[in-house]
């Protein structure tokens, strides 16, 4: 029940506030049970749930929330994924992750409510990219998917595919070049390939 009430300083109109409070009250226990099952730790689950509700309130400050439950679920999926990814990063480095902390500035960003139109256009973008990836030659395709989808390093991919690391790099270069040509042609422009909602994480420093 703790998070049903809007945090101090949040300015939300009465009606909207009441609807969100009701949705949070209804789903809080469910959400914590689900997060506990996914993350294997009820304390972490509580912390993540808290972040979910804070984000929902932050979103409600700036926009009309049509379906509070959909927003809560979407935000929960997003934050659970962040937590899973954060742990995997540490697991790959063979160290124990620190306890859940909202250290990632991205975690503080307000949620976006998924509109059907947005979902649809996103699906189109995803389809274009997935088709281009599927059309790659077998090895570049597998290397690219392992690296981009599963976060494998070239060393790990080399072991998996039984080739040298420099071969993996060649596959990746081939994949990147091929994809650039494909996506450029299909979109008819050079610089921005897809209007994708990049979560702004540059590899460069």
């Amino acid at each position: 029940m703790r998070w049903a009430f809007r945090p101090a300083g949040v300015g939300v109109n009465e009606q909207q506030g009441a609807r969100i409070e009701e949705a949070i009250r209804r789903d809080e226990k469910l959400l914590i049970r689900w997060l506990t099952a996914k993350l294997g730790d009820s304390d972490v689950a509580r912390d993540v749930a808290q972040s979910v509700f804070l984000r929902v309130w932050a979103f409600a400050e700036t926009a009309e929330v049509e379906n509070p439950r959909a927003l809560i679920f979407k935000t929960a999926g997003n934050l659970a994924l962040n937590e899973i990814k954060r742990r995997n990063r540490f697991k790959r480095r063979h160290v124990t992750p620190p306890v859940y902390a909202e250290d990632d500035p991205l975690n503080k960003v307000a949620s976006r409510e998924p509109t059907p139109e947005r979902q649809a256009s996103l699906r189109e973008d995803v389809a274009i990219m997935m088709n281009a990836i599927d059309a790659l030659p077998d090895r570049p395709r597998r290397a690219f998917m392992m690296n981009r989808f599963d976060g494998y390093s070239y060393k790990q991919i080399a072991q998996e595919l039984q080739v040298s690391e420099s071969s993996v790099e060649k596959y990746m270069i081939a994949a990147l070049k091929e994809l650039r040509v494909k996506l450029k042609n299909e979109n008819g422009e050079t610089s921005k390939i897809l209007k994708f909602p990049a979560t702004a994480k540059r590899c460069r420093t």
């Binding site: 189109e124 990219m129 599927d134 494998y152 070239y154 420093t205």
Partner: protein, 329 residues
């Protein structure tokens, strides 16, 4: 664009981009990259295009995973709601609980029990609950068999269409083998339709790997995510992945077929799967009429009525029980 200099920049940019995402990029590498990027604005521009592709691919992976998590939460929520009403109902539900227990007892030992076969007649649908909790719903005129082993959960769809609600089991993959392709998943919701030669796979949630059967060079596996569908031909080739409306694909489970701007010829052949009396288009000119709408597939008379009213065509009885569609007038 194609002068040798810019071509070279492009090549180096691709190399740097590939190296920077290798997972093994040292501070020294980083500084060298920095120097190269600052040497000329065109360097950064070329590099950015490759990095953007790499990032978009990762974003897509996140999107898929996030989507899968949200579906999982929705399912979790539905199941908890069901459980609650179950308890509230109390003793009144005792009989069905006993029945469910009996059902579970019957279905649980099907591991290593060999193939179990299921079929539906025209117009019939059937739900089969597997021992792992997954649900298979057979649509009209469908034949499939199921084999549960410790290694995998295997369905062979020889005819028709079925919707699969698969309970996740990381140790046992779930394979739907059909004429043109194997569809391989862990836990997700998807529809497989077997036409005469093609296999159509539509994914409602999660991620699905579709592996064509044919051993051809062009027979490459396809990865599908929620909201995407693909047609695999028996040659092993597949059409481009398309986005589809999930309501349309799963409508049959509620006794409806829905079409959006489909040719009448297609709609009729699709609807004919449900009924003993075949509908026959007698005028070639009618075949390309566009059809949009929902049809109650439990009632052929209504279907024919709706078609003839919407398209101004005339329906009559053929000599052997067929239903003829002809241009009106």
């Amino acid at each position: 664009m194609s002068n040798p200099d810019s071509k070279n920049i492009d090549e180096v940019a691709a190399q740097w981009a590939a190296r920077s995402i290798s997972g093994d990029f040292s501070d020294g590498d980083r500084r060298a990259l920095q120097r190269w990027l600052q040497a000329n604005p065109s360097h950064a521009q070329a590099f950015d295009q490759y990095i953007e592709i790499a990032e978009q691919a990762s974003d897509i992976a996140d999107l898929i995973r996030e989507d899968t998590l949200v579906r999982d939460l929705e399912k979790f929520s539905r199941e908890s709601t069901n459980r609650r009403s179950w308890w509230v109902a109390g003793p009144a539900m005792a009989a069905s609980i006993a029945a469910a227990g009996l059902f579970f007892f019957q279905s649980a030992p099907d591991i290593d029990n060999g193939w179990r076969e299921f079929a539906t007649a025209r117009g019939e649908t059937k739900e089969v609950r597997l021992a792992d909790g997954s649900l298979v719903t057979l649509n009209t005129d469908t034949e499939l068999r199921i084999l549960m082993t410790d290694a995998e959960r295997r369905i062979e769809l020889s005819k028709g269409e079925a919707l699969f609600d698969v309970v996740r089991d990381n140790d046992r993959k779930f394979v739907v083998a059909s004429k043109a392709a194997d569809t391989i998943v862990r836990g997700t919701r998807f529809n497989v339709e077997q036409t005469t030669n093609d296999t159509i796979v539509s994914v409602l949630s999660g991620v699905v790997e579709v592996d064509p059967i044919a051993d051809e060079k062009n027979a490459l596996p396809v990865t599908l995510i929620a909201g995407h569908a693909v047609v695999v031909h028996s040659s092993g080739a597949h059409d481009p992945v398309v986005a589809f409306n999930p309501d349309i694909v799963s409508a049959w489970r509620r006794g409806f077929e829905r079409y959006e701007n489909q040719r009448l010829a297609y709609v009729v052949s699709d609807l004919n799967r449900y009924f003993d009396r075949p509908i026959v288009i007698r005028d070639v000119a009618l075949e390309n009429l566009p059809v949009t709408g929902g049809f109650d597939v439990t009632n052929q008379a209504l279907v024919v009525q709706a078609l003839s009213a919407a398209l101004s065509i005339r329906a009559s009885n053929g000599p052997n029980g067929e239903i003829y569609l002809e241009a009106d007038g």
